[in-house]
Every structure is written in C-alpha cells, then in structure tokens.
C-alpha cells in the first residue's frame, strides 16, 4: 500500500509542477552541452563518407529526429491510454503536451530527409513506404492536436484524443518496418540490436549523442508545456492560487 501511495504522489499536478520546475533548466543545459558535443564529433571528428561525401552529415540530426518522432508518438499514446484507463488528469495533460514536440520532430525528420534525398537520390520526395508513413505520422500528430483543441469540454476532448492516439499507434511499426516490408529508396535500419554497426564508430557516437540531446530537449520542453497546461486547467484550484500569491509577494 505504501509503495502505491509513493507512485501516485507524482501523479498529482501540484507535485509534478514543483518537481519539473527544478528539472527544466538542468535538462536544457544537458541538451545544449551534449548537443554541442555531438556537433563537434559529427563535423570535426567523424570522417567523410566514402560514397556520399559530406552530404551524409545530415544523418546526425535526421536519424535522431526520426527516432524521436516515433518514440514520442508511443509515449503520447501511452499517457493518453493511462489517462483513459485511470482517469488520471495529469496523464492526459502530458499526452497533450507531447503532441507539438512530436509533430516538430516528425516535420524535422521529413525536412532533413528531403534535404538528404535531393543530393543522394536526386529528388526531394518520393511516395515510397517509409516517407509516406512518416508523413501520415505528421498528420496523426496534427489531427490529434486539432481534435483535442476543437472540443471545449476537456474530459470529452481528452477521451476523443486518446482514442485517435491509440488507433494511430498502428502506424509506428509500419514506419519502422517499412524499409523491410516494401522495396523502397530509403536505406535500411541504421542501427540493429543484433548486427554489428555498419558505420564508423565516431559517426555512431555523434548520432547517439544527438539522440541524448534531443531526449533532454524533449523532456524539458514537454515539462514546460505540461506546466502551462496545468495552470490553464487548474487556475481555480487552491494550490495554484497559493503559488500565485507567493510569487506576488516575492516580486514586491
């Protein structure tokens, strides 16, 4: 019983609000420090690619952005499902806060992919399985955002959003396995759990560092947006009013 109480402590928006407030600056610092290191390794240590020349350096943002776009969707759907199952209001708020970040990473994966495709494939865009399913992911994020914003009743919009998010989960394995299931211009998986890496270790290092930087960034910005949503929804609650009075006193 005592452990369950501890677990649910952080499910209270007031506790989350305080804790995330401390974490956000550290997460941004971590993101910037690791991101700059990744850029240094990617541009100054990683060698020129034998077949693609310098164009391949787009990989250091393209692959991490694409990973984030898929993982964030799964996390968003998971929190939406938890919100639905347990009627947890913070879980719904986190799901809503993740959607714009996920949409941005999806757009960036598509954009950097186009800028990589043009010099290597000779075209900005092809309607192949990998690119099309990633574009559908962008539409799923945008659809989720439009849906939850279009329904005024928060409880109804949260549930409608959760349903859409959960149905859309089907698309994530389609994106991931698309390069295996269909013949496509897009190259295969960059990293496999079972096979040895196909790229130079410095290239891999830069890519993984950028992934860590993107993770820290995503945590920070999602926490920020969740805090704003908490204030918007709970503005009439006692703890928010108390916090507001405290801040006023500090300013005086």
């Amino acid at each position: 019983m005592s452990t369950s109480i501890k677990l649910f402590t952080f499910a209270a928006p007031s506790t989350f609000y305080k804790l995330s407030g401390y974490l956000i600056p550290w997460l941004y610092c971590l993101s910037i420090a690791v991101g700059l290191t990744a850029l240094y390794v990617g541009f100054f240590i990683a060698p020129t690619d034998a077949t693609q020349g310098e164009a391949y350096r787009i990989i250091f943002v393209h692959v991490p952005a694409a990973w984030m776009s898929m993982v964030l969707y799964l996390v968003m759907a998971m929190w939406a499902a938890i919100g639905w199952a347990f009627n947890a209001r913070l879980a719904y708020m986190v799901a809503r806060a993740i959607a714009p970040t996920g949409a941005i990473f999806t757009f960036l994966a598509l954009w950097t992919g186009a800028f990589w495709g043009k010099p290597t494939w000779g075209t900005w865009w092809v309607w192949d399985a990998r690119l099309t399913s990633e574009l559908i992911l962008l539409f799923l994020y945008l659809g989720y955002m439009a849906l939850v914003e279009s329904i005024d009743d928060v409880r109804r919009s949260d549930k409608a959003g959760a349903l859409l998010a959960l149905i859309g989960v089907v698309n994530v394995p389609i994106i991931y396995f698309s390069v295996r299931w269909w013949s496509t211009l897009h190259q295969g998986a960059t990293i496999s759990m079972t096979a040895a890496p196909k790229m130079a270790s410095t290239m891999l290092t830069a890519m993984l560092l950028m992934t860590i930087a993107f993770w820290a960034y995503a945590f920070a910005v999602v926490f920020m947006r969740t805090r704003a949503i908490i204030l918007e929804r709970e503005k009439n609650m006692g703890w928010v009013q108390f916090l507001s009075q405290q801040n006023k006193r500090k300013k005086q």
């Binding site: 960036l108 800028f115 801040n247």
Partner: protein
C-alpha cells in the same frame, strides 16, 4: 580535422545547401518551440494573477 579553412567548412564538399539547410531548420524549430512554451506559461500565470486583464 576535416576542414582546412572556413570556406571548406561552409561549402561541405559542395553539399553546403543541403547540410546547412537541414541544420538551420532543426535549430530554428528547437528555438521557436521553447519560446512558444515559455510564452504559454507566462500567459497562464498572468491570467491567474490578474484574471480581468486590467492594469493593477
């Protein structure tokens, strides 16, 4: 070291437009998004401390 001089770094072996076009868009959005989130937070705080929006 991959680059002999600044021009070499900028031209990226002829792929400068594509490499920097990618990185610029990433940096742009990773700056816009935290700013938007910060503004949303500030607006919510103002709404609470001054619900009517009248000067205090």
């Amino acid at each position: 070291m991959n680059w002999n001089n600044l021009e070499g770094f900028i031209s990226m072996g002829g792929y400068g437009l594509y490499v920097w076009g990618s990185y610029a868009m990433v940096l742009l959005w990773l700056a816009i998004e935290p700013y938007a989130a910060w503004r949303r937070q500030r607006n919510a705080q103002q709404e609470i401390s001054n619900p009517t929006g009248w000067p205090q």
